[in-house]
């Protein structure tokens, strides 16, 4: 079996830098991390200097994701040797127990961290993840709400909570979480677009108008967000087709929908250029846009 460095013709430095990039941007491409990381650790450990510890951590978590308990265990041992009393390493040991579905043991470990250090957010979040893994959504939601009362700036937690609410079909509360995220991350087009989707799902004229506005905002922030483009098209079309709106509102929304249609067509034309295999999806979109225009007028 060829090594990663042979297969992709990369040096160990490039592999190390790739790992750093994945770490910094929080990618969860665990199989790749395991492939690259395992080779780096096995073949080039001595060259990595102090970087090796954070790489052990990264590779360990990725190994858990891929059911590579052997690799996870060996990484954990190295970290335990180097940092014998560390809470951070203890949390990793807890994550391994979670991966083995030994939730009670994991919880005991996290509780012992919290006894020592009640402000340890990582341990608290792991406990909430356990609830989620066990399917205990309402408890996870409750705990997460309590956590957020204390740690109101934790973006990751707000997003996790919005996901939980969406799964429970509690769209109003999901919208609230997304509002928090939009406030603190005004340039993030994804939050705008998700908020718009939630509003659209809630339905009703007012929510549809809000949805349309936030789809438009998402597009302003990133004009290639296809979900926002389609969302704008669909919300404007629904508003225009509603018997409850004034002639002016109808006219405006017909305009918005038409604009969205042209943008969508253009995007698909560009995507389908020279690629025979894309004809199917392009044709499907064209026909769909045509048929929706008919129902609108």
């Amino acid at each position: 079996m060829s090594s990663v460095s042979e297969l992709y013709d990369v040096t160990w430095e490039e592999m190390r830098d790739k790992l750093r990039k994945w770490r910094e941007e929080n990618y969860r491409n665990s199989e790749q991390i395991v492939d690259v990381g395992e080779e780096l650790i096995n073949e080039h450990a001595s060259k990595l200097g102090d970087d090796i510890w954070i790489i052990y951590e990264q590779v360990m978590i990725a190994a858990l994701d891929c059911s590579r308990d052997d690799l996870a265990w060996s990484c954990l041992q190295e970290l335990k040797k180097q940092f014998p009393d560390s809470h951070r390493v203890k949390r990793l040991a807890g994550m391994r127990l979670e991966a083995l579905e030994r939730y009670e043991d994991a919880n005991k470990l996290y509780d012992s961290i919290l006894q020592d250090d009640p402000t340890n957010t990582a341990a608290r979040k792991r406990k909430i993840s356990i609830l989620r893994a066990q399917g205990k959504s309402s408890e996870a939601i409750r705990e997460l709400n309590e956590y957020l009362e204390q740690f109101v700036g934790d973006q990751e937690a707000w997003h996790e909570l919005s996901e939980l609410y969406i799964n429970e079909h509690d769209y109003a509360k999901a919208a609230f979480c997304l509002e928090e995220l939009m406030m603190t991350n005004p340039h993030n087009h994804l939050y705008c677009e998700q908020y718009a989707e939630v509003k659209y799902t809630q339905g009703g004229l007012e929510n549809l108008e809000l949805a349309r506005k936030y789809f438009a905002q998402a597009l302003k922030l990133n004009n290639r967000n296809m979900r926002a483009l389609f969302g704008l098209y669909m919300s404007a079309s629904h508003i225009a087709a509603s018997p409850k709106v004034s002639a002016k509102v109808k006219k405006d929304n017909v305009k918005y929908a038409a604009w969205a249609t042209s943008q969508i067509s253009r995007a698909y034309q560009m995507a389908g250029r020279g690629k025979k295999e894309n004809k199917c999806s392009v044709k499907a979109v064209e026909e769909m846009l045509e048929s929706m225009q008919i129902t609108m007028s």
Binding site: A133, G135, I166, N167, H169, Q194, A196, E197, V198, Y200, T201, G203, A211, M226, R227, F230, G231, M234, S235, A267, Y268, A271, K275, E277, N278, C280, S281, K283, A284, V285, E287, M288, S291, M292
Partner: protein, 205 residues
């Protein structure tokens, strides 16, 4: 109710879809290119989402586009599949029931298929699926004996081959298509690969 046949192509793509997103709930539509009378033959599937399954806009968009594509290719939507993120729970979610209802409005022998994550390990002898049909105004478990997977061993072997060759990464679902519209959710490349692997002796797959 009647018999349901699940083709290798449909099964393989569903399985690949669930495997591609092990931490997410995924869903998709089951299609048939066979006539509406008699047994339901699920000949293909379209993988749809791996995020926010219960939000309306993208689901509506996907249903509309698949409808259009089916009309263009003489297929019908005959069912819906879903694999829950939580492996130990393969019961239909409210979202699954809702979409299945919609499909039932157009197709009176529609099926709802839940993938049983716990049975997806290699070497499992039993197909990891649970099927529901519409009976007395609710979705009831279908009698296992009315569900047919032709050439089950061969289907498993096809799936294994896709994983060993790395071709499982070819699968594009509707969500991925929206992330990059040059990717085609009708999966022509993957379909061709799967049909190549299915032995020509096995006529109707």
């Amino acid at each position: 109710m009647g018999e349901v046949e699940l083709s290798c192509l449909a099964y393989a793509k569903m399985f690949l879809h669930a495997s591609q997103f092990p931490r997410c709930s995924v869903n998709g539509l089951l299609l048939s290119s066979s006539p509406a009378e008699g047994a339901v033959c699920i000949t293909d599937c379209v993988p749809l989402l791996h995020s926010h399954l219960s939000l309306a806009p993208i689901t509506q968009l996907a249903l509309t586009q698949v409808d259009v594509w089916c009309a263009q290719t003489q297929q019908r939507i005959v069912g819906y599949y879903q694999a829950n993120a939580c492996v130990s729970d393969s019961s239909p979610t409210p979202c699954a029931l809702k979409i299945a209802e919609k499909i039932f409005e157009q197709c009176n022998n529609a099926v709802l298929l839940m993938i049983d994550g716990e049975k997806m390990f290699p070497g499992c002898r039993v197909p990891p699926i649970v099927m529901y049909e519409r009976k007395d105004a609710r979705w009831a478990l279908k009698d296992k004996h009315t569900i047919m997977l032709r050439q089950w061993e061969e289907t498993c072997s096809v799936v294994n081959q896709l994983f060993s060759s790395g071709d499982q990464a070819l699968l594009v679902d509707f969500d991925s298509h929206l992330d990059d519209i040059t990717k085609d959710w009708t999966n022509p490349k993957l379909n061709a690969k799967i049909m190549e692997l299915v032995s020509p002796a096995n006529g109707n797959v």
